[in-house]
């Protein structure tokens, strides 16, 4: 068989498989006009392709999906992995770890004894002042920017507040499907201080340099606090995905940067 013929026979397969370019298809058409054997092969392959395409797809067993999910072993969530990786080396040495436990036990005993003794006497003013002091500290965050989300698959808001060099974002989200949230920022200027999610356990949470991502489900409030270097005003890029599709992308912190905070 000549090299040319082999080339065109390959092209016939490529045509059937949708892998031939327009140029190749045009060349093939020209060649077929002069080679009846090649025409026959093309017709036979097309017929085979037709037969194979008529074969129905096999229905997957109805319970396959559930049985696979049930068989999956539990997987350690991200927060535990982070905690495990970030535990100091000292805690991995048993006698030091037990030493800490003993010290903690003694301290707890002392505190409980103190509380018991205090309860015998009337409450003092200092207890009340202490509680107020904590609240006052929390109120130092000032709301600077607000983002509304009003989409068929995602509703809610995000509020950015600042306290000194800390930025707090409160996500109040509501979606019928799980919402993936991604917060991007300048990782050289800031890092995560805390993450909290109310109503239900944290489903997924991931931190990389300059990116935080988490999942919110149903009606849920998530709070992210970032600590930045002194005087650094962070620009935060927020992305919201539902079912793997980007629903909204926006920034927060731009108004505060320009000095137009609420």
């Amino acid at each position: 068989m000549s090299e040319l013929r082999v080339k065109y026979l390959e092209l016939i397969h490529a045509e059937i498989d949708g892998e031939a370019s327009d140029k190749e298809l045009a060349a093939l058409q020209e060649y077929l006009a002069s080679d009846h054997e090649a025409q026959k092969l093309r017709a036979a392959l097309a017929k085979l392709n037709n037969v194979l395409n008529q074969v129905e797809e096999v229905e997957t067993p109805a319970d396959l999906h559930t049985s696979i999910l049930t068989a999956l072993p539990p997987r350690r969530p991200a927060l535990e992995i982070v905690a495990q990786n970030s535990s100091p080396w000292r805690l991995r040495i048993p006698f030091i770890r037990y030493g800490y436990t003993l010290a903690a036990g003694l301290l707890l005993g002392a505190v409980l004894t103190g509380v018991a003794l205090k309860n015998l006497s009337p409450p003092e003013k200092s207890d009340i002042y202490g509680t107020l002091a904590v609240r006052e500290n929390a109120q130092r965050y000032v709301a600077v920017e607000h983002m509304n989300l009003d989409f068929p698959v995602l509703r809610g808001s995000v509020e950015l507040s600042r306290s000194g060099s800390n930025s707090m974002m409160v996500f109040d989200l509501y979606g019928q499907q799980a919402v993936e949230v991604e917060v991007g920022f300048d990782g050289s200027q800031a890092g995560l201080m805390s993450f909290n999610q109310q109503l239900g356990a944290i489903r997924s949470f991931q931190v990389k340099e300059g990116t935080i991502s988490f999942q919110s489900e149903g009606k849920q409030r998530s709070t992210v606090v970032l600590a930045s270097k002194k005087h650094a005003q962070l620009l935060l890029n927020l992305s919201f995905y539902v079912g793997g599709k980007l629903v909204h992308q926006g920034t927060l912190g731009g108004a505060a940067r320009a000095g137009s905070g609420k």
């Binding site: 298809l25 085979l48 194979l52 395409n53 999910l69 999942q215």
Partner: protein, 196 residues
């Protein structure tokens, strides 16, 4: 997975698989403990994997076992998945290995069964789609494993030459040559059964 029209494909609509980046994102989230993300990968691939396993093994229960093992192994070995590669290539490769192992342990192809579904090519004996499926399946089973696999990946899983090369870890040129030989053999068998 979405169906789209492929202008260069002669007769049929072909299937284009969703963005590989989406797979990588889901894998990354699954590694972090998100079962929802793994479930999405499962939703995306359980059907094609089950179908491939069924076409390779011709046994519904074996195909179910293979599919279950594939996803269990994938879940347990997510840390070993190299993000430089495509997720579908990795998971299909696991599926093919599982199918090879199972078919080696259960060599059950029965020539008598093959003979039973022989058909005559007469107009009054037109095959129903179900019967046609059985005949084609029997023909597939009489191919060598390496030929059967390329037919399954190309015609039942709609994989391109390049993707098949990635899954089978062979050059595209080898994919083509195997596929062309497999088609020639399949044509011969099906013509012998009166289907072509």
């Amino acid at each position: 997975m979405r169906a789209t029209y492929c202008p260069h494909q002669l007769f049929f609509w072909c299937v284009v698989f969703m963005d590989d980046n989406e797979d990588l994102r889901l894998v990354s989230e699954s590694r972090q403990g998100s079962r929802d993300s793994f479930e999405r990968l499962l939703l995306r691939y359980e059907k094609p994997i089950f179908n491939a396993a069924y076409r390779i093994l011709r046994d519904y229960e074996d195909a179910r076992d293979v599919t279950q093992n594939v996803f269990l192994k994938a879940f347990q070995n997510l840390e070993h998945f190299n993000a430089k590669h495509r997720f579908f290539s990795w998971i299909y490769r696991i599926a093919l290995n599982e199918s090879i192992n199972l078919s080696k342990s259960r060599r059950r192809f029965d020539a008598a069964e093959d003979a039973r579904i022989e058909v005559r090519n007469t107009p009054e004996n037109l095959l129903s789609r179900k019967e046609l499926g059985e005949v084609v399946q029997a023909a597939l089973m009489s191919l060598e494993f390496e030929h059967r696999v390329v037919i399954v990946l190309r015609h039942f899983n709609h994989r391109s030459y390049q993707q098949m090369g990635e899954i089978l870890e062979i050059p595209e040129k080898t994919v083509k040559s195997r596929l062309f030989t497999a088609r020639a053999l399949l044509r011969e068998i099906l013509s012998g059964k009166g289907v072509l």
